[in-house]
């Protein structure tokens, strides 16, 4: 039991990743604020990246995971830029960034 806890391995990182993911998801689900949702998304992306690096380190032994992590960071940057631009657009049109007020797509 001690060995399991103290001998840091793949699973430890995966659990950290899982915690960050669940928290990010919780954030996404519960926030009414669009920027809050973006924050949750960043958390989820970070949890994914932890997984990539962890598998790269422990399992594959090559750089594919790290390369992918860099791509994810890059895409996260792009996503943040676009997402925030959309939020600003919504704010201009609806005078609010409350996602419940933005329901023009209601069927």
């Amino acid at each position: 039991m001690d060995g399991l806890l103290l001998d840091i391995g793949l699973r430890h990182f995966l659990f950290v990743s899982l915690a960050v993911f669940v928290l990010g998801l919780y954030c996404v689900l519960t926030r009414k604020n669009a920027i809050g949702i973006l924050l949750g998304v960043e958390l989820i992306l970070n949890s994914a990246n932890i997984n990539y690096i962890a598998f790269s380190h422990f399992s594959s032994g090559n750089y594919d995971g790290q390369v992918f992590a860099i791509f994810v960071i890059m895409l996260a940057a792009a996503e943040a830029v676009i997402g925030l631009a959309i939020v600003l657009g919504i704010y201009q049109n609806f005078s609010s960034i409350d996602i419940e007020a933005v329901d023009s797509l209601q069927g």
Binding site: N46, M74, L84
Partner: protein
């Protein structure tokens, strides 16, 4: 307790604790600042995993770029004078239920799966290898990524541009 385990637990605590604030705080500014802690912790974990280059990138891009951007957005959409920077949450109980399920299932999976592991993880400088990977097998996605960034740049300008109402009056 080995140093490595100690460092790991410290970093994990920093990461998860900050993430808890991010997810739970009522104040959006707090959440945004708490995200800084999460990013730092994650960068530390990268370093612990011998991914030095990615760790540096994480600090530079996430903390130096994205986080600042988010803070700007928060400031722009909520007047500073407005005390109630709304970060209200909805449906905590169903969300908690669902996430409990998801988390439990995933945890069981992580615990139960037979993960492939090398006997001895390599620890070495990664910059050279990543650079060769980008300009070798990943050259096409690498170039496409630059296009994506350009598109995102232009798209952000277009989307956030202030709409002119009524007849256009050109100066």
């Amino acid at each position: 307790m080995p140093l490595e385990a100690l460092v790991f637990y410290l970093l994990a605590a920093l990461t998860i604790g900050s993430a808890l604030i991010v997810a739970g705080s009522h104040n959006l500014v707090y959440s945004a600042f708490a995200l800084l802690g999460t990013f730092m912790g994650v960068a530390g974990l990268y370093a612990l995993l011998a991914a030095d280059f990615v760790a540096v990138i994480q600090v530079m891009l996430y903390i130096g770029g994205i986080l600042v951007l988010i803070l700007f957005a928060v400031m722009l959409t909520h007047r500073i004078a407005d005390v109630e920077v709304s970060n209200r949450t909805v449906g905590r109980i169903p969300a908690a239920l669902i996430l409990g399920v998801v988390g439990t299932v995933m945890g069981v999976c992580i615990e139960a799966a037979e993960w492939v592991q090398h006997a001895e993880p390599v620890v070495e400088p990664t910059t050279l290898g990543i650079g060769e990977a980008f300009l070798g097998p990943y050259i096409l996605p690498f170039e496409l990524a630059s296009v994506v960034l350009l598109v995102a740049l232009i798209g952000a300008v277009v989307v956030s541009r202030k709409e002119l109402r009524g007849p256009m009056v050109d100066g």
